[in-house]
């Protein structure tokens, strides 16, 4: 490495920083990072044309849900380094808030859904205000405690949550604006709703990760004190990402429970949390698209291996343990390490 200290090739240095200019719209959408989003969106759009069976469409609906949930958790754990076990709580909070609003008020449905995300974000802001500055272990423990607390509250606060029975018979999401009247009452129509939301959510999260704020997020994960010394209000960044992810997760939760037409305290069970963990760990924490694709895998896989819930959870637990032991960076991390090695070899090769 010392050989690098005396090589000067100033011609090369200028074009790394200057980027090719393109149309403003393209730039705003995310410019050169737009890459895998378009093929992914196209693939999502093609599913209803290829899949005829309603049952498989429902599996695809679950896959879309997992894509958003997994990516939101990845944003927190993979990019900012916050191991939050509260994500599943925000799914439930979003679900309960939107269900209650739709069944108890005359609120326009889309607003009720957004409000579900909003309530989740608000709760996240309150919990986060205390916890984001704590140590990694304390943060993980408190977020897990929060989820367990939510389960207790959902079961006991009968007046609002319907107790252990929960809220059932939720109406199909509908959008009626004048002559337009869209109802998502079949798995297929629900798929269109979810597909639109998923592409939008993935775009927004990808945009965040590739933005300058995304670089700050990685900086906080890699070395928080240094980020502070460089003038970044790291706690504010963490709080903002925590709340943003809670919003996306809460909104996904609302769409999830209206697809199931029911919500009860079991939404806070370990099942969803475990799915999110496996998706992110095996996909590769801190890599965007491998995590999104691994979500699809873990929605489809259990349908192919039909088994009892408990048995599936045992298998998932075992997968999580094995993944941590033998593929700690996940598939995405493995691919990234390989690409980086190639890049370094090129750099070294170019120098000599």
């Amino acid at each position: 490495m010392t050989a690098a200290l005396h090589v000067h090739e100033p011609e090369e240095t200028n074009d790394v920083m200057s980027r090719k200019s393109s149309s403003p719209l393209h730039k705003w959408l995310g410019g050169r990072h737009l890459g895998p989003l378009l093929p992914t969106a196209a693939a999502i759009a093609l599913v209803p044309a290829v899949v005829t069976n309603d049952y498989f469409i429902d599996v695809a609906n679950l896959a879309l849900t997992f894509m958003v949930l997994g990516t939101a958790f990845n944003l927190l754990y993979g990019y900012v380094g916050m191991l939050s076990f509260a994500q599943v709580a925000f799914v439930g909070i979003g679900g309960y808030a939107s269900s209650w609003l739709v069944t108890h008020t005359d609120l326009w449905q889309p607003v009720a859904f957004l409000a579900g995300g909003g309530v989740a974000a608000l709760v996240a802001a309150v919990v986060g205000a205390v916890t984001v500055r704590l140590s990694e272990g304390a943060f993980a423990i408190i977020t897990l405690s929060f989820t367990l607390l939510c389960a207790v509250v959902a079961a006991e606060w009968t007046g609002v949550t319907g107790g252990r029975q929960g809220i059932f018979g939720l109406p199909a999401p509908s959008l009626s604006l004048g002559p337009v009247d869209l109802v998502a009452d079949t798995p297929r129509s629900y798929y269109y709703l979810l597909a639109g939301f998923t592409v939008l959510a993935l775009w927004a999260m990808q945009r965040l990760v590739r933005s300058s704020a995304g670089t700050v997020m990685i900086a906080i994960r890699d070395n928080e004190p240094l980020a502070k010394a460089q003038g970044y209000a790291t706690n504010n960044y963490k709080l903002a990402v925590f709340s943003f992810c809670a919003f996306v997760t809460g909104l996904t939760g609302a769409l999830h429970v209206f697809r199931l037409t029911t919500i009860d305290p079991s939404i806070f069970d370990f099942y969803l949390m475990q799915v999110m963990l496996i998706i992110v760990i095996l996909g590769g924490a801190g890599t965007f698209w491998p995590v999104a694709y691994s979500a699809v895998l873990f929605a489809v896989l259990p349908e192919m291996l039909r088994m009892a819930d408990e048995a599936r959870l045992i298998v998932y637990g075992a997968l999580l343990v094995l993944g941590l032991l033998f593929l700690p960076q996940g598939v995405g991390g493995f691919l990234r390490a390989r690409a980086m090695n190639r890049q370094l070899r090129d750099m070294r090769g170019g120098r000599s």
């Binding site: 754990y77 380094g81 191991l83 205390v130 916890t131 500055r133 704590l134 140590s135 990694e136 272990g137 304390a138 993980a140 423990i141 408190i142 897990l144 405690s145 929060f146 367990l148 607390l149 207790v152 509250v153 006991e156 606060w157 370990f270 475990q274 963990l277 760990i281 009892a308 408990e310 048995a311 959870l313 045992i314 998932y316 637990g317 075992a318 997968l319 999580l320 343990v321 941590l324 032991l325 700690p328």
Partner: protein
């Protein structure tokens, strides 16, 4: 306000606190020595309760508890050797949390598959009989035993950590693993010992509850949430902190439950934790280290 009721709540708080103290001390030992937040602690506690459920009718109360402790300690060694020790060293902290969470799910769902989800109760004739009378307060013997076992176990733990060379070695590993290596302490051996102690303590906590309450695969979930809260409030890794806070939370819960619902009970513990974190983010008993 009824004075007897208050005394009953107080006694109840001590009983609850004793269980929490056993669990929290185990969690703190594992965190302190291995730097692992053991999310499987609740599931292991449940296993301990089931082990006692099978042992006690065969061997009687005291031997049943000892057998449970020994079995769980061996399980702890197996987990340490088979899984935790094999985690890749970089980023091991968050991975160990995820690993123990995976483990918790395997154990808990495995228990449902093996033993069914329903609650079970120890046959009447295997439970400790009779009760203690303290003034007007009636304390069933089984509950009193929880306190006796907890105080004896925690006392032994204190002596082990502070008066023996091996306990000093455990504290040494928790303060500076490299220095421990340099003076010839085998980290593998101390790691095994910490897991054996921590899991054994969880087993004892579970075992002492078996004769008093029902046993079910889900029993670990709600209690572990409170124990985590206790360990965070006490200052992660501080064993004395964990024990003191365990009794505080036991009291808080007993009174919040006595005058409110299960929900107020849980919420009060959570709020207590949040309140402490607002004032002292590092916990009540952890010390500020000079760099």
């Amino acid at each position: 306000m009824d004075a007897t009721y208050t005394w009953e709540l107080l006694a109840n708080g001590v009983v609850l606190g004793s269980s929490y103290a056993l669990l929290a001390a185990g969690l703190a030992v594992i965190f302190g020595v291995l730097n692992v937040v053991n999310f499987a602690h609740g599931a292991l506690y449940m296993l301990g309760a089931f082990a006692a459920y099978f042992f006690i009718p065969l061997t009687g109360y005291w031997i049943g508890i000892l057998l449970t402790a020994a079995t769980m300690a061996i399980l702890g060694i197996v987990l340490q050797e088979g899984l935790l020790r094999r985690l890749p060293p970089d980023g091991a902290f968050s991975r160990s949390m995820l690993l123990t969470l995976g483990l918790a799910m395997i154990i808990q769902n495995g228990a449902i598959v093996l033993w069914g989800a329903g609650p079970r109760q120890l046959p009447e004739d295997s439970r400790p009989q009779g009760h203690l009378l303290l003034g007007d307060v009636i304390i069933p013997t089984g509950r009193a035993f929880i306190v006796v076992v907890a105080v004896a176990t925690l006392g032994a733990l204190y002596l082990l950590l502070n008066r023996t060379q091996v306990g000093r070695a455990m504290r040494g590993v928790s303060q500076n693993p490299t220095a421990a290596l340099v003076v010839g302490i085998s980290p593998e051996r101390i790691g095994r010992l910490a897991m054996a102690l921590g899991v054994g303590l969880a087993g004892i906590a579970g075992a002492t509850l078996t004769p008093v309450f029902t046993v079910s695969p889900q029993m670990g979930i709600t209690i572990v949430f409170k124990v985590f809260a206790i360990v965070v409030i006490g200052g992660l890794g501080s064993v004395p902190g964990a024990v003191i806070v365990a009794y505080l939370v036991g009291m808080l819960e007993s009174f919040a439950g006595g005058y409110g619902s299960a929900m107020t009970q849980s919420i009060s513990v959570f709020l207590f934790m949040i309140a402490i974190m607002l004032v002292r983010p590092q916990g009540l008993f952890s010390t500020e280290v000079r760099v």
